[in-house]
Amino acid sequence: MLIGICAYAAVGLFFALTVRKFLYFAKMPLHGRMELYPVPGEPGRSHGGSYMENPEWWRRERRTDKAAEFSEMLKEILLIKRLRENSRAIWWASYPFHLGLYLLAAWTVLLVFAALTGLTGGIVFALTALTGYGGFACGLLGALLLLVRRIADEHYRVYTTPQEFLNLGLLIALLLTGLCAWGGGFAKAQDFMGGVLRLQAAAPDLMTGVHLALLFALFIYIPLSKMSHYVGKYYSFHHFLWDNAPNLKGTKVAEEIARGSK
């Protein structure tokens, strides 16, 4: 029961602290315009243009392409596009690491699904094995490559703080202990997930206990650390680089400025 409560608390805190972080940035005052082109929400201007390429731009209806913006963000999240285009060597480490995390998120969903439905064979089995082994392998490989690069290359080492080494170390420890704890076919993980969901999880063995302690601690630590860049990235793209909304009468920006100048 204690483990179940800890698991719910850790996940709950993860989401609560993440929301707090979102709110922290959301409550900041409106900043000056600092857009940078190409802005993907500019329809028909993939060359890096903007509405300001039109004479008397303020007299035209301003259109934005939310689908293009969403698609660009998706490429950034799923493929880490900018890193791939601008720093391929680091991408070869960062991409497997992030892919590993995405696969492990999918693996967790599959464990919950199996626990709730009792379906563990066939496609569920195959997908669980694929996401689980794939996730641990990619995550570990990527994290190790990132760590090696940061240690071996002095151009990275001198800028890496002890906390950043610690973050990587914690993630590697989490993935390693996870692989050791659950890696024997994932039936144990499915059983354990069922126990957690029903608050009836059995006492774990030492390796599983260490892994769970790390997992719960990281759930709380991640939103407090720079590993919460999933929050930062939203703001830096949508509210900074891609925010080219002009201050025109009747717009949200104009309202915000009017409110702020009172």
């Binding site: 940035f25 900041m28 005052p29 409106l30 900043h31 000056g32 315009r33 600092m34 857009e35 940078l36 082109y37 190409p38 802005v39 500019e42 201007r45 060359h47 890096g48 243009g49 903007s50 509405y51 300001m52 390429e53 004479p55 008397e56 731009w57 303020w58 950034e76 880490i80 900018r82 890193l83 285009e85 601008n86 720093s87 680091i90 960062s94 002095e154 151009h155 990275y156 001198v158 800028y159 890496t160 703080t161 002890p162 720079k226 860049h229 930062g232 990235k233 703001y235 830096s236 509210h239 900074f240 680089l241 080219n244 002009p246 201050n247 009468k249 104009a254 400025i257 009017a258 100048s261």
Partner: protein
């Protein structure tokens, strides 16, 4: 040689960086390795902070004469640093805090930075000064105990030498923001350079050409050139006569015309250094049938706003005065001429300073010029521009405003020899003169600009003209539609004797347009006359 780290900024050394092995240039300058660039006179070492790379940007920062002076700079800087992440800095707080917190130190920005690429010098990595600032903040302003400081590497001592070098280092970044374009997390390391400049400015330390002879002069007499109303009107009159003679017909430049549709807003430096540019605008706007005027009122005949490079308070002061003066003219819209930073200052930076109804709409002249070409109101003969032409993209105009296509549409219509430089458009490199470098020369900063920060641009130009480069009988025209960029190109062409040796020419877009006008017989471009 061991790697220079942010901590080394405080290290006692006569000079941390030497530029003796710069990025090779393309032919015919492939033998140039840099080697310098600046001569450092012994008296300068005694007077200024030359210990970063020998160059001096902040000529108002003097070597301390007492311990008290040392402490004054350090404590003043740390007090300014503590204010960065408060609402007192609201115009930039969110992006700054994002960049401060989330940088993954992946070094992707280094590959995008033309100054780091040109030098390979560690302190020119965009993350270097950001990391120095982080360390200082965490040690002196971040709170927490020694363990947290150790974990977050808040391990740098704030000494006079370190703060002074950091101040100089803030003026080794053109604020072109190409690094932010490449950042996988969407962060902007140039913000740190700008914030360091802001802190220094709050301590009364800013380069004389951009503060005393820039912002202060502009606020005092209405223009950073120092030109008053009477002198401006004289210059316009002279321009009408001179250009009228050159094009073989009278040229009338409307000034202070009541209720005109357009106020054409030039960088006043154009009237002084390149009068053919405002004259070309006058020809095109007149022949294009536009209802326009210049203004002789203070703050409305000089569009510059140097404040955006080093001090938000100065930028806002200038922008508000400009807005007020422009509204009083009774024009319907403001159209900015060929000045990149004036475009950004008036149209983007000032956009959120006041309520929407309190300002006039501001737009670029390039879409209007493209419409003139498209409309056929003026006949152009591209055969009159038979020489190779390449286009420089001013960062403020293109990367930071997204105005890229109109210039290209015009060039394709009037210049058959037009070819892009590589990379181009929003991804083009800075000219090397951005953020004030174009006008900073004394005592030896011009050498840094001409040989280091402009190196990538010069190489791009050499590559764009590679097939004709060594044939001095063919003029090769760099179209740089921005006063600061033109100023920079003029200077490095001079430094490399590029015009004398290889007939490399530079100028704006409108001059090239007027040169192609079918009904003007004499070539408008001086090098063709």
């Amino acid at each position: 040689m061991s790697l220079i780290t942010p901590k080394d900024l405080g290290k006692p050394a006569a000079q941390l960086i030497n530029y003796d092995d710069l990025m090779p240039l393309s032919a015919p300058y492939s033998e140039d390795k840099g080697g310098g660039p600046a001569e450092v006179k012994p008296e300068w070492r005694e007077k200024y902070c030359t210990s970063l790379d020998g160059c001096v940007a902040i000529d108002t920062l003097r070597q301390p004469q007492s311990q008290e002076e040392r402490e004054k700079l350090v404590s003043g800087f740390l007090a300014g640093l503590a204010k960065l992440f408060t609402d007192a800095n609201k115009g930039v707080r969110q992006p700054l805090e994002l960049s401060f917190e989330y940088c993954a130190k992946c070094n992707t920005c280094s590959e995008a930075c033309h100054i780091f690429q040109a030098t390979g010098a560690e302190p020119h990595r965009p993350i270097f000064r950001a990391e120095a600032l982080r360390k200082l903040y965490r040690k002196y302003c971040g709170g927490g105990g020694p363990l947290l400081r150790r974990l977050t590497a808040g391990d740098i001592d704030a000494t006079w030498e370190l703060i002074a070098r950091l101040g100089e280092l803030a003026y080794r970044c053109n604020l072109c923001r190409r690094c932010a374009q490449a950042c996988p997390l969407g962060l902007d390391n140039s913000l740190f350079a700008k914030e360091i400049r802001k802190i220094f400015s709050s301590l009364g330390l800013a380069p004389t050409p951009i503060h005393e002879k820039g912002s202060v002069l502009q606020l005092k007499v209405g223009s950073s050139t120092g030109i008053g109303k009477a002198a401006f009107l004289d210059m316009v009159e002279f321009l009408e006569e001179d250009i009228g003679e050159r094009i073989g017909r009278p040229l009338k430049i409307p000034v202070d015309k009541k209720n005109a549709d357009i106020l054409l807003y030039h960088n006043a430096g154009e009237f002084v250094a390149w009068p053919e540019n405002p004259a070309a605008y006058a020809i095109l706007f007149n022949e294009g049938g536009l209802d326009w005027t210049l203004s002789s009122e203070a703050m409305t005949y000089d569009s510059v706003n140097y404040g955006i490079w080093y001090d938000d308070a100065q930028a806002k002061k200038i922008a508000l005065k400009q807005m007020e003066a422009m509204k009083a003219l009774g024009v319907r819209r403001v159209v900015v001429g060929e000045c990149g930073h004036a475009h950004k200052a008036a149209a983007v930076v000032a956009d959120r300073y006041v309520k929407a109804e309190e300002r006039l709409p501001v737009e670029s002249s390039f879409p209007i010029l493209a419409e003139i070409v498209k409309s056929g109101k003026i006949r152009f003969d591209p055969a009159k521009n038979p020489f190779p032409v390449t286009l420089h993209d001013p960062c403020n105009l293109v990367r930071q405003m997204g105005i890229s296509q109109p210039q290209r549409d015009i060039l394709r219509a009037i210049a058959p020899g037009f070819r892009e430089m590589s990379p181009c458009g929003a991804h083009n490199y800075c000219c090397g003169g951005g953020s004030g470098f174009a006008i900073m020369n004394s005592p030896n900063f011009g050498a840094f600009r001409d040989h280091v920060s402009a190196r990538m641009k010069f190489d791009q130009i050499l590559r764009a003209f590679a097939p004709e480069m060594e044939d001095a009988s063919i003029p090769k025209y760099v179209c740089a539609p921005c006063s600061n960029c033109k100023g920079t190109i003029r200077e490095f062409f001079k430094a490399y004797k590029a015009t004398a040796r290889y007939n490399l020419q530079y100028g704006g877009l409108v001059e090239l347009m007027v040169n192609a006008m079918s009904d003007i017989e004499t070539p408008y471009l001086e090098f063709l006359q």
